[in-house]
Amino acid sequence: MSSATHAGAGARITAITSGKGGVGKTFVSANLAAALARQGQRVLVLDADLGLANLDVVLNLYPKLTLHDVFTGKTTLDDAILPAPGGFSVLLAGSGMIEYSRLTPAVRDLLHDVVVRVRPRFDHVLLDTGAGISDVVLYTVSLADEIVIVATPEPTSLTDAYATIKVLAANQARRSIRLLVNQSQRAGEARAIRNQLQLVVDRYVNTTLDEPLTIELLGDVPLDTSVREAVLRRELLLDAWPGSAAAQALVAAGARLLGA
């Protein structure tokens, strides 16, 4: 199924999702956005975790205007798009979005409308989705041109990443999904995880598809104490410790995203 927003020029839309929560999805979104911005890209991160948004926390922003205000007509889209540290823009969900955590036709239309409207104004839009595979997450992902799944090497995270891949293959006819392994503990681990996921997909998912689904390794962000420090200080890793191994890995992932 092609994305509803494919037509026309405009930003490349990337959904960042994870299956399991707590794997650093929002951390990755924010730093990936900063990496893209450093390459001269006009980048927007849309906080699509409508139920439990926390991009504002990661970025240390206290927005007066959020997606909620856009949805309720209290403000315009232009006023709700805010500059973030790192040289990119954000559209924050803010709290109070819990009533949008269910995909009603109204929520669907509003999300679609926002994505269509921001698309011509940026080079890259990252959709930071909620955890899990709720209907809001699946719908948000359906608006994207490409999908990045963030996973850690933990078995629970890999299981949920795999479940997400299965659902996306079946429900959205996705045939290419990118994987970013966060908190990897040794060289080659991310590659091994990607290969193992591909093996299981080949055996259990691709046998049911007309065209096989391929998992591409987008990034391998090593476990790094500087990440914890940056998160606690509520700063971007790329600003706080640009020389750290994790920051370098995120910059490399950003470059790979652009190269596609």
């Binding site: 209907d135 078995p155 890999l158 795999y162 659902v167 040794r186 681990e189 995880i193 193992q196 259990y204």
Partner: protein, 247 residues
């Protein structure tokens, strides 16, 4: 109260034509379908509500079998999709039809056909839980919505329904009875995910065709919901040496 007044005669003032409404046909329809007359004082709000309720009930039922009709079924399906998307509870949709039903009609006549449909309907209604909805959705086609039905129970439930119909001897004339069988297809609603009634029905239909093609009188259920990860899949997912290397 008295509802035996024939329609052409003018009803008692204010009784059958409250507020100038023409209700003769509605009352006739209820009587003809064997339903009770509206309760309460004729023409009162309670009486009108009771009449409307009875008409709603009538329009939600299949005339031949008394099962829910297609309209009610589609409403129930949409409601169930809504619930599954919200709660993540597993729900099963079974779609089934009577094997070689055309032969029953051709050989024994349409009255026998109707008796078969009624017998199958009774068997279905008796086999499912009160919370399940059995509907006649076409000539010899039925659908059953089973809310909160765990994936592991699906095959058992379908098989119980199939054998229950298989055991039933349908008396089509004094001293003459025939046996019929059904083929069943089933699909679970994808948990947490909002699907559409059409898509869900199509998936169950695919399984029904499979059951027909594999020889009829059998149940075919779609493989486990796509978001579930089997033990086998997990086994392979963690089969790599990388996990042994971690402390």
């Amino acid at each position: 109260m008295d509802t035996s007044a024939p329609a052409p005669l003018p009803p008692p003032p204010g009784a059958q034509q409250p507020h100038g409404l023409h209700l003769e046909l509605a009352l006739q329809l209820l009587e003809q379908s064997g339903r009770e007359a509206p309760s309460g004082e004729a023409g009162s709000t309670v009486w009108l509500q009771s009449l409307i309720d009875a008409l709603v009930e009538l329009s939600s039922r299949d005339a031949l079998t008394g099962l829910s009709n297609r309209r009610t079924f589609e409403l129930a399906l949409a409601r169930e999709i809504d619930r599954v998307a919200r709660s993540g509870e597993p729900a099963l949709l079974l779609t089934l039809d009577v094997d070689y039903f055309k032969q029953v009609n051709d050989t024994h006549g349409h009255t026998a056909g109707d008796l078969v449909i009624q017998a199958v309907s009774r068997a279905l209604a008796e086999t499912v839980r009160p919370m399940d909805l059995v509907a006649r959705v076409g000539g010899e086609e039925f659908s059953i919505v089973l809310p909160n039905c765990p994936a592991a129970f699906g095959p058992q439930v379908a098989e119980r329904i199939r054998t229950r119909v298989e055991r039933e001897a349908v008396t089509i004339a004094p001293g003459q009875s025939i046996g019929v069988t059904i083929s069943i297809g089933g699909a679970f609603a994808p948990q947490w995910v909002r699907t559409t009634p059409r898509l869900w029905m199509d998936r169950a239909d695919v399984q029904l065709y499979r059951a027909k093609n594999e020889g009829r009188n059998r149940c075919c259920l779609e493989a486990a919901a796509v978001s579930q990860v089997s033990a086998e899949e997990k086994g392979l997912l963690f089969a790599t040496s990388q996990f042994q290397g971690l402390e």
